[in-house]
């Protein structure tokens, strides 16, 4: 792997979003708590970084009614099982400025929209199952199944503790290709607000041997997409549509090894920014 490409991996890993957590007004019991400001990694999951926020804000809520914590942005419940960066690209990148202002709830958990998350094991289980699915797509499951449990645990702990150097030596194996063939399929999911997630089988190479690029993927998955009316965000960036998808999968995937692509309405007067 070239040095520049490694620098890209590092920079993706270190992407941050400034978030402000405010307790829902409806749930404040007596004294109103101060908001909490955190720089949250794009690559992680909210439950992993909100444990202390939860303890702090729960202290201001009626004990009798205090249940599992959940978050919303402008009325939209946030699915914790999407990486933070995906949630921000999808909902937060709407031009209301920073920090990203989220509302914290401890009551009326919307169980028909959000997965329950009672502890870190749930997040780990979800994360590993997505990694496993990605490897099935890329290598028929052979790499992940060939690893020891210790390696799975190191990947997970690297993510939890935000340690690039713990995560990537293991993840590198999942990004490996033999000389003769690349990934069998590209693990990707395409998100649009209020529409089902799109996930299909897509090969990195055309039958004529030509490398597929991001534009080919979008045309395949969203044949009716009008590029002038939508903005395509990957890791918070508008990536050139000519970029080969195999390279994107190796470098711009989230830690779960999926390309999470957000197709959103562009803001008027939008200037492309990176976080």
């Amino acid at each position: 792997m070239m040095g520049d490409d490694r620098a890209i991996l590092r920079e993706i890993w270190e992407g941050r979003i400034p978030v402000c957590f405010t307790l829902s007004k409806d749930e404040v019991e007596t004294e109103k708590p101060e908001p909490v400001f955190i720089m949250v990694a794009r690559q992680t999951y909210f439950p992993l970084v909100t444990e202390r926020v939860s303890k702090y804000l729960a202290g201001y809520v009626d004990k009798e009614k205090c249940g599992e914590m959940w978050l919303d942005y402008d009325g939209q419940p946030l699915k914790w099982h999407y990486p933070v960066g995906v949630l921000y690209d999808l909902y937060g990148n709407m031009g209301t400025g920073l920090p990203w202002k989220l509302t914290v709830h401890f009551q009326n958990f919307p169980e028909d929209e959000l997965l329950r998350c009672t502890n870190r094991d749930v997040v780990e289980s979800h994360f590993m199952s997505v990694v496993k699915e990605a490897d099935w797509l890329k290598h028929r499951g052979n790499v992940i199944n060939g690893m020891q449990k210790r390696d799975h645990k190191n990947m997970w702990m690297g993510l939890v503790n935000d340690k690039f150097d713990q995560f990537w030596p293991i993840n590198k194996k999942l990004m490996e290709t033999s000389e003769e063939e690349g990934f069998k399929h590209i693990p990707f999911r395409i998100y649009q607000v209020d529409l089902p997630v799109i996930q299909k089988l897509f090969r990195p190479v055309a039958e004529d041997g030509q490398q597929h690029c991001l534009e080919d993927l979008l045309k395949f998955a969203l044949p009716d997409l009008d590029n002038d009316k939508w903005k395509v965000l990957l890791q918070g960036m508008e990536v050139p549509l000519s970029t080969p998808v195999h390279w994107l999968s190796e470098h711009l995937s989230y830690p779960d090894n999926f390309l999470h692509i957000c197709v959103v309405v562009p803001n008027s007067g939008d200037v492309s920014v990176r976080w």
Binding site: E64, L115, P196
Partner: protein, 557 residues
């Protein structure tokens, strides 16, 4: 062996399942989602043995589980909650996963109020045999996830093992046009209480179900005095087969499938009565009594009377004396599909007081459980401690060693013993040694490190004995075979066969040192002389009862 379906094949099988469902009004529906299809079904079931919704709702809000709350609130009546049946609505969806090229089962379960059951509540619904097998895999076996089409939370039986399961199904299938979705759903559906009618199979094959649970009796040999010995073969629908003779209640064969479905006999034994059972010194496969394990100096006192037993093991009595239950010809009958062995032990037989009437029942369930239930009554106060002494080797009885066997014994406590194997009366957790088996341990690697050099021959003190409490788990990765043991007894002897020396076992196999292992449910050794150990005394108005289960399964992945 893995097996994958194309989307087209899978959707054809969905449509086939739908047409069969329509034929006998089983309620499946087919839904379209863009270019995809999926099956769905709603079922209302009355379920017992689950906490009521109100109990869980209250516990949930307080962030405690119901059991914890019940411990602190005297007004909470656990038994009442457990006995209240609940009417639950199950939604099942069957989708095709392009990533794994297999069908996937999703479900949600609702309280009458329309609220969702949580994962913990759903786990309480999973039938016990699946829970015990998957406990270690709990977080990856059944999880809440986002429904790929509906975008809502659903519980999913994880698809990563389905490919292998379909491989087994397709290999075993005799028909060339099997609907693998029906076969797969019949296998995995029961985990979440989805049970396909046998009608689906019948429509497909037009044959009667060929595998039935059976028990058959054949003559096996004769005692020196001319009495006949019979062998009983118990076989279940999964082709698990146990053969038991009424001489000593011995398990002579136990054929268990490996992960490819191949059957292998995994208990040590002799070819016939005259080839070894008549002179056996190693208790191969036998029922043991009156008192399993050792009694110091063959002496104990009961109600002020001292009894002297035959000394047959160094300075002590072992396994009931010179002619214990392992060397007796038991009465035998078939009741339903169970083998019932009976034996009346005379007052002062081998020195033990009281005439004791013993009944031992062997049953083989369709969940691959070998269940041994013991009962005994006495005419005078006496001590009793019964067990079964099969030597297992999950690689096959003739394997010759225990390589590849990994054992876990959840209790941390064992009872240390002196140089004659008599307990000192203490309890030890063997922390940081090979005697702490709470973590999975490769048996053959640990043997050399067990103090005294004989390998394992230790009584483990089970903390909460009960038929649902796992006493031991042994797995053998090369074959994929798994043995779980459950018992109501307070102790379990784990013995790795150091003293075995049998030149000609079954089929000419040689059984030497460390070629098989035993998991013997028991009272503790020398309990009659250790008042603080669980009591082995029974009196004329009491009944001795024990149930022990050996459960066989295979590893996945």
């Amino acid at each position: 062996m893995t097996f994958n379906l194309s989307k087209e094949q899978c959707y054809d099988m969905f449509r086939d399942l739908l047409s069969k469902s329509n034929l006998h009004h089983d309620g499946w529906e087919l839904h379209e989602f863009k270019e995809d299809i999926f099956l769905s079904k709603r079922v209302t079931q009355t379920v017992s043995g689950i906490h009521s919704e109100d109990s869980f709702k209250d516990a949930e809000i307080h962030g405690h589980d119901a059991d914890y709350k019940c411990q602190t609130d005297d007004s909470c009546d656990v038994s009442t909650h457990l006995d209240t049946p609940s009417i639950l609505t199950f939604h099942y969806h069957v989708l095709f996963s392009e990533s794994y090229s297999v069908p996937v089962l999703y479900c949600n379960v609702f309280w009458p109020s329309g609220r969702l059951l949580s994962l913990e509540q759903l786990w309480a619904l999973v039938p016990e045999q699946y829970q015990s097998r998957m406990r270690g895999d709990r977080w990856t076996f059944l999880t809440q996830t986002e429904h790929p089409y509906l975008g809502r939370p659903f519980f999913q039986l994880h698809p990563c093992h389905t490919s292998k399961l379909l491989g087994v199904v397709s290999a075993l299938s005799s028909s060339k046009c099997s609907n693998y979705v029906i076969s797969w759903l019949s296998a995995v559906g029961p985990v979440v209480r989805l049970n396909l009618s046998f009608q689906y199979g019948r429509l497909n094959t037009n044959q009667e179900v060929s595998n039935m649970s059976t028990i058959t009796k054949v003559k096996y040999g004769s005692m020196e005095d001319g009495r006949d010995i019979y062998q009983y073969t118990l076989k279940n629908r999964q082709n698990l087969e146990a053969r038991i003779i009424d001489y000593g209640g011995r398990i002579t064969h136990l054929f268990v499938p490996d992960q490819h479905g191949k059957l292998e006999d995994i208990v040590l034994g002799y070819d016939s009565y005259k080839d070894g059972y008549d002179k056996d010194e190693f208790y191969l496969g036998a029922l043991i009594g009156r008192y399993a394990n050792r009694i110091a100096k063959g002496q104990f006192s009961l109600d002020g009377v001292t009894y002297q037993l035959g000394i047959n093991n160094g300075p002590n009595t072992n396994h009931g004396g010179f002619r214990g239950f392992d060397k007796r010809l038991w009465g035998s009958t078939i009741e339903d599909d169970k083998l019932v062995l009976t034996y009346t032990s005379a007052d002062l037989e081998e020195g033990f007081p009281g005439e004791v009437n013993v009944t031992v029942t062997f049953a083989l369930t369709d969940e691959n459980e070998l269940v041994i239930a013991y009962r005994a009554t006495t005419t005078k106060p006496t001590v009793i401690n019964l067990t079964s002494h099969p030597y297992f080797n999950l690689a096959g009885h003739s394997s010759g060693d225990l390589k590849g066997h990994v054992i876990r014994i959840p209790t941390g406590l064992h009872t240390p013993s002196d140089s004659n194997q008599i307990p000192t009366g203490e309890f030890d957790e063997g922390k940081d040694t090979v005697l702490d088996l709470r973590q999975s341990t490769e048996i053959s690697e640990a043997l050399e490190h067990v103090p005294r050099g004989y390998g394992y021959d230790h009584n483990f003190a089970l903390m909460n004995p009960g038929i649902k409490q796992q006493a031991a788990n042994v797995r053998h990765a090369p074959s994929g075979r798994v043995l779980d043991m459950y018992t109501t007894e307070p102790g379990m002897q784990f013995y790795t066969g150091y003293w075995l020396d049998i030149p000609r076992g079954k089929g000419g196999a040689h059984y030497g040192k460390w070629s098989g292992f035993c998991l013997e449910a028991q009272k503790y050794p020398d309990s009659p002389n250790k008042p603080h150990f669980p009591s082995a005394v029974i009196r004329p108005d009491e009944t001795y009862q024990q149930t022990t289960k050996y459960v066989f399964s295979t590893m996945e992945l």
